[in-house]
């Protein structure tokens, strides 16, 4: 099973390598990982997507908590949350397919952020399902390249929010 975790870390040198090293050293998977600063100075937030059964997930959460620079782990199996990802998609846009491409982007409330002779670069934000859907549709027109941010997630209820 696929799971999302939020990890609040002290923004110390090497902290990302400690987290990544934990996963590689113990044979856990990382499907995606994003990291950025929070409102609190010196504290960063990592959203991490991983896979594992019940026992492995329990280990991952405990092992993360054990790292000295990890302040808090939010296990999104236990908390209702919203997640989003952004993708930049370079899609072929020749005379015959331009209109169709724009229509699809519009339906998904995406934006064209760069245009060249033969390509559009599209920015689209959404949950996993939405990103997958637009990729499926645009791939019929010919996708040249995709770059995705990886998932970011935040808890819905205030009580278990990622704030401390």
């Amino acid at each position: 099973m696929r799971h999302t975790l939020g990890v609040l870390v002290e923004n110390q040198p090497g902290v990302l390598s400690r987290v990544a090293g934990l996963f590689s050293g113990r044979g856990f998977n990382i499907e995606s990982l994003t990291v950025a600063e929070t409102l609190e100075q010196g504290v960063s937030h990592i959203t991490l997507v991983t896979t594992g059964d019940e026992m492995i997930m329990e280990q991952i959460v405990k092992q993360l908590n054990k790292l000295v620079n990890v302040i808090k782990v939010i296990d999104f199996r236990e908390v209702r949350f919203v997640d989003r990802e952004m993708a930049l998609i370079k899609v072929k846009a020749e005379a015959s397919t331009r209109a169709e491409a724009l229509r699809i982007v519009d339906i998904f409330r995406g934006k064209v952020v760069d245009v060249s002779q033969n390509f559009f670069t599209v920015e689209v934000t959404g949950d996993e399902g939405k990103i997958q859907a637009i990729l499926d549709l645009l791939s019929q027109l010919g996708i040249v390249e995709v770059v995705r941010t990886g998932k970011v997630a935040i808890a819905r209820s205030r009580k278990n929010s990622t704030k401390r």
């Binding site: 870390v9 002290e10 040198p13 090497g14 390598s17 400690r18 090293g21 050293g25 026992m55 329990e58 280990q59 405990k62 092992q63 908590n65 054990k66 790292l67 000295v68 620079n69 990890v70 302040i71 808090k72």
Partner: protein
């Protein structure tokens, strides 16, 4: 007044109560060593940095205090890695200080630069690169605190040359502010009650204790618990000394080379009380058949140890000592009715197992047996020595035939299984206890891995006694070749060996040899009586095997007995 980094280093160490450093200097540490004579701290100069790390580790295991070592950058630092990994696997509190090239050169492949913080990240509890002298006192304070608190472990602090030279106001930080580090030490009372309810119902309980009992200084409480529940006790290799071996409730060590009765008891217990142990594969054997009929209570300070390999029914996170005290309080308040009678069938069964297959070996007149040598060491030291071991058969025979009476009397590399550990560990322990008898039970293979530290022992008047069980083989590997590889003794023969007696003499130590069983006692007596470090070379049966043995991947009750 402003102090240099070097001065702050020594002030900080004094504030931590450090009395001895094991180390070896180098270019980037010149300023630190220049400052050293001004301070009242003993420095023991090693001959290889691996030795320094093991000495700090042996010192820590024997005393319960944090061991300290100090080495230079690059190769000095990388030489400690085996020692750090050894301490990490056995949760031993040491702080390793490494010199580093000046901060401006870091990352430039400077002379004797190694990214030791990167290298040791997976084998330290935590590590630091000090970039600013203003952080130095705080980091040293945190390093010692992290090393000894929670589940103890090694901490590395990397000290660039310019930081050692820079100046700052020295203030020892009053409070430690590690927002991500708050080990749970107090056991949850609700869980303790659940555990005691399960204990009340159990017919065939077994206490399975590990190194956590030693590191939390809970041996006294463990004995009280065993006695007040009339519950048989087994320990892991790391737990030996946590429960007195001559005790009627003692099952012996469990696991791959555990006693018949301990492993059989694990096979039929209905309640396993695991205390400060981590269900290592050398203990569980085949996982599906481990303690198949047991409910499991697990007390451990490290939540990651709980339900890692084996699903636990009643987890208790906390310091072993605290948990045991709380449990003992419950036993006192509501003791189990008719305890003698309730426990009798189970203890009778265990007695039967004990009589069927006691630990045993056969002794001939003309050829010594390693087990006999260890028994004699036990007898002649009255069980009061601190025993360090190397790794292999010697280690297992020490565990089986030296009957440990007290905690912190066995220093052995359990988790990593590091050959070469024993001699430096013994030296570290001897530095802490100059008047105690410290013995390294060694193999002829392992002893050669850190033999250079003999001169450290001689120079510092640390009269450790090395007892080599000389079987002319990398014996434990040979045993597997004998049993599972049709005696294809590829690359395990050590017949071409140095003369250990002459080697001892070359180091200025005393060298002794016993060829036959009837020479063993005299050699041990002479060795113990000498004020010098001693190497005792015991020529023993080359093809002796350690039994019982659970083959890798088999269930614990499927033991080879001879």
């Amino acid at each position: 007044m402003k102090l240099t980094g070097a001065q702050i280093f020594f002030e900080s160490l004094k504030a931590e109560g450090v009395e001895v450093i094991f180390g070896l200097p180098g270019g980037v540490l010149l300023d630190l060593y220049d400052e050293m004579p001004k301070h009242d701290i003993r420095h023991i100069l090693v001959r290889h940095e691996q030795g320094a790390a093991h000495m700090a580790d042996g010192y820590a295991r024997a005393t319960g205090r944090v061991g300290v070592c100090l080495v230079t950058s690059g190769p000095g630092a990388t030489n400690t890695v085996t020692g750090i990994a050894t301490a990490y696997m056995d949760s031993i509190p040491i702080v390793v200080f490494t010199g580093q090239v000046p901060t401006a050169l870091i990352g430039n492949d400077a002379f004797q630069e190694a990214d030791i913080v990167g290298i040791t990240r997976p084998c330290t509890k935590h590590n630091y690169l000090v970039k600013d002298v203003h952080d130095l006192a705080r980091i040293i304070r945190e390093a010692f605190y992290l090393a000894r608190s929670g589940r103890p472990g090694p901490i590395l602090v990397d000290l660039p040359k310019d930081v050692i030279n820079a100046k700052a106001e020295y203030k020892s930080p009053k409070k430690i502010a590690l927002q991500g580090y708050k080990p749970t030490t107090e056991a949850h009372m609700g869980q303790i009650k659940r555990a005691y309810a399960a204990i009340g119902k159990a017919k065939k309980p077994v206490i399975y204790a590990g190194g956590g009992v030693i590191s939390s200084n809970a041996a006294k409480e463990l004995k009280q618990l065993g006695e007040s529940l009339r519950c048989p006790v087994t320990t892991t290799l790391m737990g030996l000394g946590g429960f007195p071996a001559p005790h009627e409730l003692w099952l012996g060590m469990l696991g791959m080379h555990g006693t018949f009765r301990a492993n059989m008891a694990m096979g039929s217990t209905d309640l396993l009380i695991a205390i400060g142990a981590r269900f290592d594969d050398r203990v569980t054997g085949k996982l599906d058949e481990f303690a198949p009929s047991a409910k499991i209570i697990h007390i451990d300070i490290d939540p990651t140890s709980i339900s890692k390999n084996v699903k636990v029914d009643i987890p208790i996170v906390g310091d072993c000592k605290d948990a045991l005290k709380k449990l003992l309080q419950l036993v006192k308040e509501s003791p189990i009715d008719d305890l003698e009678k309730v426990r009798k069938p189970w203890l009778d069964q265990i007695q039967k197992w004990k009589e069927t297959y006691p630990l045993a070996y056969e002794l001939k007149v003309d050829l010594s047996k390693p087990q006999y040598v260890v028994e004699k060491l036990y007898e002649l030291s009255e069980g009061k020595a601190i025993i360090a071991t190397e790794v292999g058969q010697n280690q297992m025979w020490a565990a089986q035939y030296y009957h440990f009476l007290e905690p912190r009397t066995l220093l052995t590399s359990g988790g990593l299984g590091t050959m070469g550990y024993g001699l430096p560990a013994a030296i570290g322990a001897q530095a802490a206890f100059p008047d105690r008898l410290v013995i390294d039970v060694a193999g002829d293979g392992s002893i050669q891995m850190c033999i250079q530290e003999m001169i450290t022992a001689v120079e510092n008047n640390l009269p450790v006694k090395v007892a080599i069980l000389n079987n002319q083989y990398l014996g434990m590997v040979r045993q597997w070749q004998q049993l599972f590889y049709e005696k294809n003794y590829c690359s395990t023969c050590l017949k071409i060996a140095p003369d250990f007696v002459k080697l001892a003499e070359a180091y200025g130590a005393l060298g002794l040899r016993a060829h036959k069983p009837d020479e063993v006692e005299a050699v041990i007596r002479e060795g113990f009586a000498s004020p010098k470090p001693v190497i005792m070379d015991f020529v023993v049966n080359p093809e002796e095997c350690v039994y019982p043995m659970v083959p890798a991947g088999a269930a614990m009750t499927e033991m080879l007995l001879a």
